[in-house]
Amino acid sequence: MTKFEIRGVHADVLIGAEERQEILKGVDLTINSGETHAIMGPNGSGKSTLAYAIAGHPKYEITAGEVLLDGENVLDMSVDERARAGLFLAMQYPVEVPGVSMSNFLRSSVTAVRGEAPKLRAFSKELQQSMGNLSIDSSFAARGVNEGFSGGEKKRHEILQLELLKPKMAILDETDSGLDVDALKVVSEGINRSRATGEVGVMLITHYTRILNYVKPDFVHVFAHGRIAESGGPELADALEAEGYERFVKAGAAQ
């Protein structure tokens, strides 16, 4: 049983050497393993900032608050330590790392997170199977990390990493964006396979309700103006589908 707590988090985006802008203005959220929380909100509301700041992206800085994974403040950890502690971020725009082969990268990553190098044969079997599940051609293993991948291919590989690394807490940042329906199904199935273990908490960040037809959330939160504006059950997503984000955008503007 894992408890992931975001407490009073404020964060800035670092724009230039001297320039920064506060994006997160006090975020509180608790996610237990086995739960899926959808974070929905209009563009620019700070959803992705929340994801990147928690993971430790160099362009964001958390200025107040704490993020606890089973009581440990992950903000005291380096980026790699956070991952090894069980935190995972599937990125909206996965990074291309030229010249580093996907298989080499995945093996290094799995070795680091699991704390020991997996047996070569067992690992290649596991990798093959996981890639097969996500309809990823085996030729991708020899290619550079995300190098020249299409948007959909990148997203599949993010979920591949989710399945291989088996985190305690997974933050999925707009994993659905840019996917056609077939790819969305494949990716959703991958997320659901991870969820089926019951051992992972999921924060599913999305702009659209579409993915929620495949990945059913337990809770839905509306994000606006750098904080959670409203929380509810799956029915909140239906309301958003019908009404859009307008009232949240306006509410913020009126503040």
Binding site: H57, V79, D80, V95, V97, G99, S108, A112, V113, V145
Partner: protein, 388 residues
Amino acid sequence: MTSPNLGIKEHSHGGELPISKLDVHGSFDVADFPVPNGREEEWRFTPLRRLRGLHDGREIADGAVTVTTDAPAGVTVETVANGDPRLGTAFLPTDRVSALAFRDFAEAVVVTVPKETEAAEPIHIRIAGTAQGDAYGHVLVRAERHSAATVVLEYSGSAVYADNAEFIVEDGARLDLVSLQDWDRDAVHVSHQYTKVGRDARFRSYVVTLGGDLVRLSPKVGYTGPGGDAELHGLYFTGAGQHHEHRSLIDHNVSNTRSRVEYKGALSGDDAHAVWIGDVIIGEGTQGTDSYEYNRNLVLTDNTRVDSVPNLEIFTGEVEGAGHASASGRLDDIHLFYLMSRGIPADEARRLVIRGFFADLINRIEIPELRERIMDEVEEKLREQAAV
């Protein structure tokens, strides 16, 4: 026609002569080249005092190298004395050191790949410095028409060494060169590699410079027939106090020729200095030239210096493609973030990214043992750097 369509006013050469006129002033007579003082365009990046007299012509050859070769059946390897009429046909020295080396070398290695012969194994020429002091050398490789071969030129040990290497790639032949500057840390090496690419011939070079105190290597390519293709790849890892200088010149003096120059380097440690000069000339009256050159530098620590100067001179409007790019920068922190966000520790992430930076280049070398060795040596330098 005297005025080219595309002028070449805009380039960084400060000399009185455009690079395309250098050959005109080439000479086998050392006396035709004054002792450089460091202000000349072609010498301004080189710390002359660290040449230990190679350029001033003290006319002594008190150092020694041993040269060993091995070659597969069907390929002829000879050792010949200075004066052999086959030597010096592919070039005219364009600086003092080149002229000096050609005048003063004692013995040359001559490799001949007979026509229509495909050499089954690489031809190795190993030059090992055994006694510090000035030494001169010469290598000639002739790939006769429709032959194919790979030559590995390997420098090691300690020496103050100047040499000229001539590569004649006759019509339809394919020649690959791997030139590995794996000198001891105190060696000084000034080298010219002159290549003539025949009709429909292909030349590929992989220059790998890791060792030495100062290495200055100038690959020059000209064409003797249309359809020639030259690819020059380079890799250098310049550590603390090292000076690595690569000066390529591609002279598209014939129509329908192609060239690619791609040099990548990493610098790490105080006073690491890398220089890349990439000259490309597209000659008057030629058509269908396809040329691109590219230099990238990965700057791993403070207190390093990179000089990266692409020069393009075009004397015709009938160009298929011509471009250049140069970029020097730090490790991308977003690359590191991505790898670290997957649990990979910072130092391992750095190693992966640096390996990746060189990987595409190394992977093109078609000799697996050499690929591994070069990657191992790059790793070794990375470890040295991490230990500092």
